[in-house]
Symmetry: C2
Subunit: 436 residues, 2 copies
């Protein structure tokens, strides 16, 4: 899909260009009911209002399904399947094109523009999907290696299984929140002195609160118990992507994670961006990912060589509590993954695990190879040993109360055809005080 | 609650005595809509029919809530809270008592008996709750020790954290199924020769398919993100218990589980019994659990000493595929737990993790100390080294296709006042054949 000019005013450099049309759930002060919208430039197009005013009447494929846009999550829309998502997106694209074949729908319809095009600043965004299960993978090989070195030393940094399967764990769906939700620093058990012979934990607010730069992918297709999704069909299960911050308490994690994996160190909050960028919109930006050199088992082998996305990712730390200065602490590309989402889906279901529409997959933390491209403070600070300099003179090893982490992601070079995610943002609140 | 005689014929030794009243979701051939029932003797009392025929009209507390019994899960009933569960159970108890103060409700109402009391053999039971998140703990210390010895040797069998917190991991809610659902043997990656220098997995059906004897607990109260549930209030979150078989593929597990925990080795199926035994009904059977001797951090300290349930548990293996002979392979008590469900809830939420009504907690595998009390074949067979003798002359180390595992659990000694769960049962189907 090329990106022609639009009759609608879309700021140059907007992540929500005419080439994008990401889907989200919004409400406004005037109309507090949750409903579907797409983001376009600095506006949200309210699809419930658009549908109610015959916006889709030109398209017979969509008409029978319009009620989904009045629902409070995207699940029913997602469940319609990728061919329908594609029709809807292409139609919206043509409605906004300068030479739209449907000028009466919106271009020449000042009343519907007034009703359905809402400035983003006046919109509240909500969790876009009702999430059934959430799985977090660990496919950012540079990150996995860096963390492995910190926790187990360079010899055992990566386990023998790492190159053969996308290592992952079941996450906590209930703690996934939308961008803007404050994140409270967790209390928990911490082993202050891991070298001591007697290992007795203390109770404390986490002192090593971290972020993790990830992609999230939503599933739009279910499979029954006992029926794997073949890798050749796995792309059909990909609804779209969001940015994700998998907040992590490293000191709680270090104590709790053996032998069953991370638990309370992760389940106090996972932030996702509100606009789901459709898999279709990201297709033009696919590139080759990281290569391990091992031959994968057949159930994991993909035909396409370009299987991950070249999304330019950026993490900013804003010292909300103090100066308000914003420092970019990480720049990297989402192509730094050893496995693709279709590979993750094929592996996840190979034993028969069922997916439901709305399930969320995390990519694992995405890091490049140089220090400023590392997607977690654990790696950047080498577990607290090296300070990260912030603009304005402060330093960080881990997050302080009041710090805001904002992730952005953008595809493309054409300033009028960018495909981006908007912001995935969260501010750290002080730990709750507990009296015993 | 004592167990007086009932005017209704309840077989001696029934797990569903007048002291129980477990809740489930049923349908029948004649009425395929899902609805709530309680089990009583060999019958289910259809609470939707009971409510529709003024069964609850004597009880003003219940009347405004009767619509919940026509829903397809117990979630709305659970969300009413333990005081309401208690009122409903006590009322049903009084309706069935020989000297019922409400004889016209059911005892003398042949028509309602005909309509609402359905023989269990004519009833299909369904998953009782819509499960949000499922967490599986590892609080069966004897099991954890035995497994630790097998996987890591006796020195590192239990990690230093084990006695200080209930170790657990997030499980896969989508793969929890109700008793009777067949379980397909999973395919997956297996490392045939772990001692080999070059560690390359093969693709194979699991050769070490196992069961795990557990209790499951359903949550009936939500807490928001960032707000821990204090241990003194955690019992209010306990709706009721079920039996659980956490099917496990040990060879897949051994290869995949480092460093993030079990994944495909568990998410191909977890079976629960259909009748939720209310926490209230189990109160009389509380006993002291396992003791570690370490002083717990204050947020984990309970006032009551008796904090786990003395449920007599039994695992039977039936060779469906061959002779049909049924052998009891495990007998133990559910008191073999180091932590209680309230402790698990307090720990799980201490960092701010939110619970929703319908969340499921697994206890971890329950084993006693002698070999015939071990709750998993991994332990009984010492990872395949020792054969388990079955009645009729066969042997097992792990499960074969066609094998049926049936867990039962029973509290009490009075044959007319037993509180039990019925069966948690599943049959192993051959792995799916995949062509590449």
């Amino acid at each position: 899909m090329a990106s022609p000019r639009s009759w609608f005013s879309i700021p140059k450099g907007s992540p929500f260009s005419i080439a994008n049309f990401p889907f989200g759930i919004i409400s406004t002060k005037e109309s507090p009911n949750l409903r579907t919208a797409v983001a376009i430039g600095d506006h949200a197009l309210d699809l419930a209002a658009f549908a109610a005013n015959n916006g889709f009447s030109a398209i017979s494929t969509i008409q029978p399904h319009q009620a989904v846009f009045s629902e409070s999550t995207l699940n029913s829309f997602a469940a319609l399947g990728r061919p329908i998502h594609s029709v809807v997106r292409k139609y919206l694209h043509s409605v906004f094109a300068d030479d739209t074949p449907y000028p009466d729908v919106l271009k020449n319809n000042a009343q519907l523009q007034q009703e359905a095009l809402i400035p983003l600043k006046d919109v509240t965004t909500h969790l876009p999907m009702k999430i059934g299960d959430y799985t977090d993978f660990y496919a950012g090989k540079n990150h996995a290696y860096n963390c492995g070195v910190i926790f187990r030393g360079p010899v055992n940094a990566l386990q023998p299984n790492y190159d053969h399967l996308p290592v992952g764990y079941h996450g906590r769906a209930s703690s996934v929140v939308v961008s803007g939700t404050p994140i409270r620093r967790p209390n928990g058990q911490i082993l202050e002195n891991p070298a001591a012979e007697k290992k007795v934990p203390i109770f404390s607010p986490s002192r090593k609160l971290d972020m993790e730069l990830e992609l999230g992918a939503f599933v739009c297709k279910s499979n029954p118990l006992g029926s794997p999704v073949p890798i050749a069909e796995a792309e059909e299960s990909l609804f779209g992507l969001v940015l994700m911050n998998d907040w992590s308490a490293r000191d709680i994690q270090a104590w709790e994670y053996v032998p069953l994996g991370p638990f309370n160190s992760k389940n106090f909050g996972t932030t996702i961006s509100p606009w789901v960028v459709l898999a279709d919109a990201l297709e033009p930006f696919m590139v080759k990912g990281l290569q391990s050199g091992v031959e994968l088992l057949p159930y994991m082998q993909e035909k396409r060589k370009e299987n991950v996305y070249n999304i330019k990712l950026k993490v900013d730390l804003t010292k909300t509590a103090k100066s308000g200065t914003r420092t970019t602490i990480t720049r990297t590309s989402a192509s730094n993954l050893l496995f693709s989402f279709p590979q993750m889906i094929a592996h996840h279901t190979i034993g028969g695990c069922p997916f439901n529409v709305g399930d969320l997959l995390g990519s694992g933390t995405i890091s490049g190879t140089d220090p400023t491209s590392r997607g977690a403070l654990l790696e950047q600070s080498e577990n607290g040993k090296v300070s990260i300099k912030l603009d304005g003179g402060e330093e960080r090893t881990f997050l302080e109360d009041g710090d805001t982490i904002t992730i952005t992601g953008l595809c493309g070079e054409d300033e009028e055809g960018l495909v981006g995610f908007g912001e995935c943002s969260g501010t750290v609140e002080p730990a709750i005080k507990l009296d015993f």
